[in-house]
Amino acid sequence: MFVNFFRSGLSRRRFLSSAATLSGIGVLGATLPRKVFAQDQVVRVGFLAPLTGPVAAWGKPGLDGCMIWAEWINEAGGIDIGGEKHRVEFIPYDDEYDPAKARAGATKLIREDGVKFIMMLGGDPWPGVQPVAERTGMLFSTLLPSDLSPDTTTLIAPAEVHPIYNVTGVEWLAETRPDLKTAVICAQDDALGLPSVATYLAAFEAAGIEMLEAPILFDPATTDFAPVVTRMLARNPQIVCLDTCYADYVHPICEQLFQQGYEGQILSCTADFYEQIIEKTSKEFMEGFVFQFPDFDDPELNADFINFQEPNRFYEEYAQRFPGQWGAVSWEYASIMDLWKAAVEKAGSAEPDAVLAAMTEGGTAPHAFGEARWWGRDLFGIDNALVGNWPVIAIEDGKARIKAFRSIPDWYDKHGELLKKHMAAYNQLWDQRS
């Protein structure tokens, strides 16, 4: 077919029709209405995360949230940098959760697009980016503080201290359901699953909850979870803990738990798209499911100590634009932008070193869920993780509701040694990572 196209050559008729079509497209493009911005100056922020592939659920919803954030900020006049208003523009790059592509993406964002800050999911892509960060001094953020080490001086984890906040769910559960005394855990055997397992083990030990058997680690390529669930239920646990499983695992595991007749407590780090799980199981089965990521239409988020701007309106806008796609990360990157914006305006500059200094000044910063402190030397070798309160969520009548806010530092002050013990057992302390 293509050969025939080339062989037949370019006839006058074909040339004229093609030219007319192209001209038409050009004219149409030129006459389409364009948004006019009051500000001439632009500050660019890079979004380097998986937007396609299996890990996209922790990248794409975050970008969607950032676009809403940028629209609101720009409509309100933009960011004040040294007395001048700047429009915010996000430049996305799909790293496909691959270190090589992340390196190319970081290079593009820094050297071609001139971004002043780059947000990443972190994890596997970070080692590819780290040399670029070291040489350029660019400020990066990650959602996975396990990327932090004493060498990563320009990397911050300001939104979530995964998986340390999982202790709040266990602590709350132990207080509200003291009858629950036994648990089992399953997790994917990867960089997200293992530190989370260590955290849950520490939290269960601190709460006096007995582990009925060693955590079941399944391969990330697993698609049939019936054997995993059967093995967990064979010990008749009161709590089934799903660790930090991806949505692709949480959903089928819940289905299996439902099909195999489990009626006990389920605990998980995330429950992204939980409405779909309810559809596949039942409202009754999911009642009381405890996890860590709220829907932002929750009235509890209107409390005075919450720093996230207009959470209910943000959720409403998000749900309207992307129905059924609200997930754990939908708000997180936007909350990092709140922090970054405050630091930029405080520093009067968007340059990475000035922003980092303004952000960490005094050792505290406004986290989405309240004032928090820069922390992490014990576990990560550097105080670049922002830690404070974290919500505990339970599903009630088919809807996620915040049950309490708990302090991660308070828990750590009491049980820090337990956490370090279990992290060390799973080689998750910064000096144990290769």
Partner: protein, 332 residues
Amino acid sequence: MRSGLALLAWIGVGVALIALPHGLSFSQQEILVFLTINVLLVASYRMLTLTGEWSLGHVVIMGVGAYASALYSKHFGVFVPAAMLLGAMTAALIAMGLSYPLFRMKGFYFLIGSFAAGEIIRLLWKRFREPFGGVKGITGIPPVPDVNLGIWDFVFFDPISYYYFVLAVVSFCLWLMWRIERSPVGLTFHAVHWQDKLAEAAGVNARAYRTLAFVIASGFAGLAGALQAHYIGAVNPTSFDIEQMVFVLTWAIVGGTATFYGPILGCIVLTVLNEIVLRGLGFEQTRPLIYGLLLILSVLFLPKGLESLVGRVLPRRATSRTRAIIGAEEKA
């Protein structure tokens, strides 16, 4: 006269390849480095397919070279270029070991067997945190030491410098593979593929030649892995999973495997399309959809690969050998 023109053409190609990175943006230079490494990978894959066997473990073998080179240089302090060669040799040795069970199978069974063998290796990397780093892999892999040649200061963090290094290595490897294919050994690979019974009747040990192709291809794949590992500075099991293998298969299928340049053409065209054109047009999130659509179209309308298009547009360029191979494929 004709050989003089060919020489001039090769000189022109060489000059173009040397000048190429200077005409690209910074990120395109990064992509060019990985593209050049992938050219070696896919060309080595074709070497394996010369004997008629298609493997699903080739990317894992690439990973063997990457892990081995990383470990030799990081834990034993081996000079990085030497570690790369040792990494390639390790990949070849592992392939030699795997060949004993794998070449008891043929065709589809070999394909599945190679996938299983590759998964076993990947699971070993995940399971043994010492020395493989578990699921997070190995980070902080030493880079190629910088070199100052007077006319050019090779700082290998810089993509242009590393591209020249990779280009030299890959060009030499491609020349080697070209020579091997044109040698009696290479002709025997073709014979084992197309006429294995006849070849065996003539005294050719088909299994030994399949093993030889597998080992040679694995050595080059291992070198590709080592080149990648010392540039990124990190390796992990996910980078060598079946998803990456599908990309290699796609390059080979879309490009075609009848000619030496077919898979290379597929790799270049699809990488440029996926990483530069679609990203540049703003299809950041819809790339897999468009990429998949184009693959389906290419299989429908170019079932013999991009190489057949080149062969028809430039019929006089196709060698008699190429035409013979394509003809044999058509008959088969």
